[in-house]
Amino acid sequence: MKAKERIAKRVAMELKDGDVVNLGIGLPTMVANYIPKGINVMLESENGFIGLEAVGESADPNLVNAGGQPCGIIPGGAMFDSAMSFALIRGGHVDVTVLGGLQIDQNGNLANWMIPGKMIPGMGGAMDLVIGAKKVIVAMEHCSKDGSAKILKCCNLPLTGKGVVDLIVTELGVFRVTEKGILIEEITPGVTIETVKSKTEADLIVSDHLIYMKNVS
């Protein structure tokens, strides 16, 4: 299994039956493929509905996900306007949001929307999601393509949200943002703490109950 799939599979284990979940574009979208049997979640799509399915019965030009891609809606799903969509998001009615990250720091700050001097896509709904969802999970590869650390002491890119991240899942492990700092709770089999630390700028606290990363088989 590739890194991205392992990450998506592990994130899926965080979802509980009945949760309302918003999945960002890219890797987070893959989480939908790994939701355990018996766990029914309602996927919220910030462009205006709940009950998103990955694949629709037919390609309907008016039924797309927040990335503009064709999708479906489950029976029992519902449509609404953008004000309602973000009332749900900001109002705490979304249990979990899963997003990608450019940088996360030990204060739970997240930067994932712009790199000064490069093209700026805009924050879209990300700033509302991180402030409003009850639980914010960052699903990302542990390091940048150039090998530099993304889990930092202090973000230097413009923030998406301040003190918002609860959990980080990478191909190396599972990291919880706590008041004391970043706690590594799970580690991928075959990876050492030293390796993780060398690829992480933030101070890592190793959990007393460190286990192998669940669901990596």
């Binding site: 309907d60 449509m79 306007d81 953008s82 004000a83 896509p121 805009g122 700033m127 923030l159 949200g161």
Partner: protein, 218 residues
């Protein structure tokens, strides 16, 4: 009752250089393509465009950006239309990026007579620059101000002759709130029915908000 139906040739008279226009849609889905094209056809300049995103270069409001008809855009996302970013970096286009939920609330305020809302979104980010911070019961919020437009262009599935509107699925998005927040509202609908055929409980945007509409097939 006044006839609200226009043909596409009549739409142009409502467009003026320098106008502020809201256009519904999310990556072009739920955008009134014909009304947008009519802005292009008339060669309107110096538009302030309020919209969720600048869509694609050949879709929705993206065409207005490519045609360089827009002076300023207020949106949450411009990444799917590279032309927007290019013109922004070249300082040919003023771009105000607004978190999507804040954009929705600011439009809703503009249509609802509210002077603003307090949102936690963007606190501690560059979004808070030049904005008033207000503390309510120990929590910090940004004061976000209303948006209002000269004209709103909306897309819907169906209208009755009184202008009552029903949207289709994810093509609803920003259309209902924009229909509240402009001096003139023009709808592009795919189906026109007689008054009474849309049940009062099912109306999504009420007819008195809709000044004019065109009816065209997609």
């Amino acid at each position: 009752m006044k006839n609200k139906q226009l043909n596409i040739q009549q739409v142009g008279e409502y467009f003026k250089d320098g106008m502020t226009v809201m256009v519904g849609g999310f990556l072009g889905v739920g955008t009134p393509e014909r009304l947008v094209n009519a802005i292009g056809d008339k060669g309107i300049k110096d538009i302030t465009l309020i919209t969720n995103d600048t869509a694609l270069p050949d879709k929705g409001v993206g065409k207005l950006i490519v045609n360089r008809q827009v002076k300023k855009v207020v949106a949450s996302h411009i990444g799917t239309n590279p032309e927007t970013g290019k013109q922004m970096i070249a300082k040919e286009l003023d771009v105000e990026l607004v978190p999507q939920g804040t954009l929705a609330e600011r439009i809703r305020c503009g249509g609802s007579g509210l002077g603003g809302v307090l949102t936690p979104t963007g606190v501690g980010t560059i979004v808070e620059e030049n904005k008033q911070k207000i503390c309510v019961d120990g929590k910090v919020y940004l004061l976000e101000k209303p948006l209002h437009a000269d004209i709103a262009l909306i897309k819907a599935k169906k209208a009755d002759k009184a202008g009552n509107i029903i949207y289709d699925k994810a093509a609803r998005n920003f259309n209902p709130i924009m229909a509240m927040a402009a001096d003139i509202v023009i709808a592009e609908v795919n189906e026109l029915v007689e008054i009474g055929e849309i049940v009062s409980d099912e109306v999504m945007t009420i007819g008195v908000l809709v000044d004019k509409f065109i009816c065209v097939e997609d």
